[in-house]
Amino acid sequence: MGRFHRHDDGPAHSHDDHSGYATGIERVEVLERIFDENDRLAAANRADLAAAGVWSVNLMSSPGAGKTALLRETLVRLAGVTRIGVVEGDIETSLDADRLAGFGAEIALVNTGNGFGGECHLDAPMVRSALPRLPLADLDLVLIENVGNLVCPAEFDVGEHARAMVYSITEGEEKPLKYPVMFRSADLVLINKIDLLPHLDFDLELFRANLRAVNPRVATIGTSARTGDGVDEWCAWLISRGARPARR
């Protein structure tokens, strides 16, 4: 019998650890992924959305990159074209949810400071708690506006079918190198506030090279919520992608 073996009644463990004999310590092999519970609920969210014929996009960015302004322009353009629900994640306040009201979309607010311990990201259980507040059977698309943060949201699958990042050119060219996990997880990067390009020393080609280093195949669209540049293209991406079967 080896150092590790498996009993019929439980996980593998060892008996020949001599220090263990002295102290009564038993080593039990576990091999359990820490995200298992989150990922199980994420899969349930994805299945519920797909069963209702809904395609979902997890929208992520740093604070102030322009997610909400862009989302507002998106709702204006797609009103009457496609039926949209929004899961709005914020640590505190309903300010962003209020800014999105009145454009024909159904909105479910998740304040992560309220009962979720002030989390800096949305996770699958939070989105699961929000989905019953959306009339999924009457929707085509659910946009999940994550908490503004380039670190934590990248780690948590919430049950989306695709991930879109809003990056603003005021953040500097090196962001993909500083936050490779986030930029690598994106299916689409919106290069936002593109109308500011003539006024900044921003090197768009250097940014694109940095982005390619961490995510060679990612699609990009230059956008400005202020001038409307690229917003139609972004809406077209949402609609065309939504018509396809779920990716995951």
Partner: protein, 113 residues
Amino acid sequence: MHELALCRSIADIVRRTAAERRVVRVHLRIGELRQVVPDTLVYCWSMTSAGTDLDGAELVVDRVPARLRCPDCGHVSAMGDFPDFGCAACDGASCEVESGEEFLITAMDLVET
């Protein structure tokens, strides 16, 4: 930044596995591409476990280096400080992550009570 949330997930798994036994150590395997700061995780663990049935249980973190494999030429390389997923051997654009994304509990040291 999300270490507190992770401690809750870890504690759930640990309690379920320990099933009334006292937990001496929890062994974790965390890949370098996981955005977890081991020192912060250990600090959050000591904070959240204090005064509970897991008080005194030690977290032992085994950090796994990031290694990339090129799907075109099969070249395997360690990822340096610069996060470049291109292949150093054949100029292939996108390597696959061979290791470095692990995040699991591998073992626990328990004492019958």
